[in-house]
Symmetry: C2
Subunit: 167 residues, 2 copies
């Protein structure tokens, strides 16, 4: 323990395939998704998939999120978002309440049950993160976090054609 000494220059293994960073991020994300999904298979409490988790996660501590705002955050269409929310609603994790000032909109609220389940999910995520930290060190992971946040902050807007502003 205590800093596994990561060796930041790659010293290519010789054969082939030094993955690009972009590829690494995508592959890691897939590995994480698979990992998290595996837990779900065990009949866990989590809603359904990762998207549902992301959606619920976004709802936490917010009380004025509408479907379209969630859609923007998730980077998918509002229609797909609506499906996700419906699933979340049917499993008792989310409640649709009338919007206080806009009668066509509805705010999405986590139910108590939803909060509890999300909390369990978050603990699981935290576990993975801790494990990762044990591998490379907390400080490195902080750098990773900052870099990812910076990227997302820079282009958090590649909407898959909200398609409402098209002629």
């Amino acid at each position: 323990m205590t800093t596994p000494e990561i060796d930041a220059d790659h010293t290519p293994t010789g054969s082939a395939a030094e993955d690009e960073l972009v590829i690494l991020v995508i592959r890691t994300a897939k590995a994480l998704v698979d990992r998290l999904g595996a837990g779900r298979a065990g009949g866990t409490s989590s809603p359904m998939t990762v998207v549902h988790g992301l959606a619920a996660r976004y709802l936490l501590d917010r009380e004025d999120v509408t479907t379209v705002e969630l859609a923007r955050h998730l980077g998918i269409t509002k229609q797909s978002t609506s499906e996700v929310v419906t699933a979340l609603e049917e499993t008792g994790n989310v409640r649709r309440a009338p919007h206080p000032s806009d009668r066509r909109a509805r705010v999405l609220l986590l139910t108590d049950e939803g909060k509890a389940r999300l909390e369990s999910g978050r603990r699981r995520w935290q576990g993975v993160e801790d494990e990762w930290a044990a591998l490379v060190g907390r400080d490195r992971l902080d750098v990773v976090r900052a870099a990812l946040e910076a990227y997302l902050a820079a282009h958090d807007d590649d909407p898959p054609t909200d398609h409402a502003s098209e002629c």
Copy 2:
């Protein structure tokens, strides 16, 4: 650096939603995929999707890759991999050649055209990476790369039930 002394206070912004690292990785990956896919929409040269890119990327500089090995690398079933390879073959990027020593197997080889297209794709990835580097600095990105590689090295084996070794 190399300080076991964990300094875990992130100074929460107060309002809400400090994303977990796991979430950040997944969201970044999606952003990247969307970004890369956007280029494809413009009638670009790239095969089809990110998976195809990952597959082609793995084939580069290797000459003895079979479908199942590729499947293992991609983390999907061999059936799905076969589909991917077929698509790659139909677009002239990959060629299936008989395996030198195993007559039931076939090796997957990038055609010259495939190599050219892959190269163009890699340049695009590199561009994204450069942009990111401009944002956070090369050195930080090197840390990110190392951390991702470490994670993948640790659990690169979550096969979605190869399902051939069951009961």
